[in-house]
Subunit: 219 residues, 2 copies
DNA sequence: GGAATTAAATGCGAAATGGTACAAAAAAGT
DNA sequence: ACTTTTTTGTACCATTTCGCATTTAATTCC
């Protein structure tokens, strides 16, 4: 075995920023991938209906490994939810930051949202926040905090959009950016719920279209 | 130590409106009351996290009685959801039918909705449809059908409101009642979700206020 | 090659779960 | 009083669930 000291091979396809040269038996799973599988399950069935056996089967890790890697079921759920929020944020942040006309920005945001909510081989997956996390929020303060954070983050992002549009003269003088932002968030929420009930994409797009029309012409 | 035989009768306190003179041992529970308790539990914890033991304790019925009265757990869940929808409809139908200005009707509807979502001793209960039923909808066609029915019923009720308002000249000529109805439903959904995350009533009322302002002045 | 280290694999166990069988109890009909 | 009918109450069963203890495998360091 040569090649001992150098920062080597990057056999790891996910270009390891660090090549830590771990000491014991190597992992048989990639944590990121496994977490993604867990996320899919939790998202489809919720916290209580997802068993450790299900998670074990989906991730290919047996239970002790799961436990060692992510902690107990609740911790895994929370990490999954964090991952979901990170992914969703990453998918939207560019659009929110972009300097485009209001209507275009809204349309792009909603298209991304529909992609997220409607994907999944075993039926539409809906929104983690709306579907399962909000349910747990009543009884679990930590999850509740995350949910509230997610909600207000979305409100704020939309708020900046509308404030910006108003400054540019895309909205009438009397328009209230905060109210419009809440309605924009509400539209996200309503399509998340409807997607979960398998309302077809065409209908959801029609709802979005109507909402965008109102929001862009408001007041 | 004896006291074996008579058990104090604990007379059935309820005056039955109908005295059907049933044949066997009388029921020790009132089905409507028991269903209400089951509804509360399902609403708080969802389907999977609510055990038959929980239901048994809450209703005061032991499991065989539960089973005999309502069928298995899924049937009980569905009956609870039907009961919820009936109650919610009953609470709103008068307002939807009433002949009042648009703004007033909306305000009253949302006040009722907030009452429903925020009540409950162990925290706000949210909306059954949004919180637990929509989650089950992916995998259970019957529940999915009920959810879709509930959503479209609300859309339609709001749609009639806005169409009516437009005919009366309360809305501008260009307003689209269907889009406004979807936004009104979306506002219901967003406050249901936020209520579940324990957002205080004041904030929810502010969101409603902003939404009503936009919806009444739209286009 | 051997010790140390890390993870996988097996499997146990106590508790909980959904559902049911069966007997005791409480009423009406005879 | 006795039977019939309906419901209650107790106990049980098979399965599932979560979590962990223990053993085995793979790798690095010496």
């Amino acid at each position: 075995m040569v090649q001992k000291s150098k920062r080597p091979p990057s056999a790891a396809k996910i270009a390891a920023p660090t090549a830590p040269k771990r000491r014991g038996r190597p992992r048989a799973y990639e944590p990121e991938v496994a977490l993604g599988k867990a996320l899919d399950l939790f998202r489809r069935d919720g916290f209580a209906a997802t068993s450790l056996d299900d998670l074990s089967a989906a991730t290919g890790m047996n239970r002790p490994s799961l436990y060692g890697a992510f902690g107990d079921k609740r911790e895994l759920y929370i990490k999954s939810y964090q991952r979901y929020r990170d992914d969703a944020r990453a998918a939207m942040v560019d659009i929110f930051r972009a300097d485009a006309p209001l209507r275009e920005r809204l349309e792009r945001i909603y298209r991304i949202a529909l992609d997220i909510y409607l994907s999944g081989e075993s039926g539409p997956r809906g929104c983690f926040t709306v579907m399962t996390a909000a349910s747990e929020a009543v009884s679990d303060p930590d999850i509740r905090t995350m949910v509230v954070e997610g909600l207000t983050e979305l409100d704020k992002a939309f708020g900046i959009c509308f404030r910006h549009a108003k400054e540019r003269g895309e909205l009438p003088e009397g328009a209230d950016p905060a109210s419009l932002a809440h309605l924009a968030s509400a539209t996200i929420h309503t399509i998340a719920i409807r997607a979960r009930a398998r309302v077809p994409r065409k209908e959801l797009e029609a709802i979005v279209k109507g909402a965008v029309d109102v929001l862009c012409a408001a007041k």
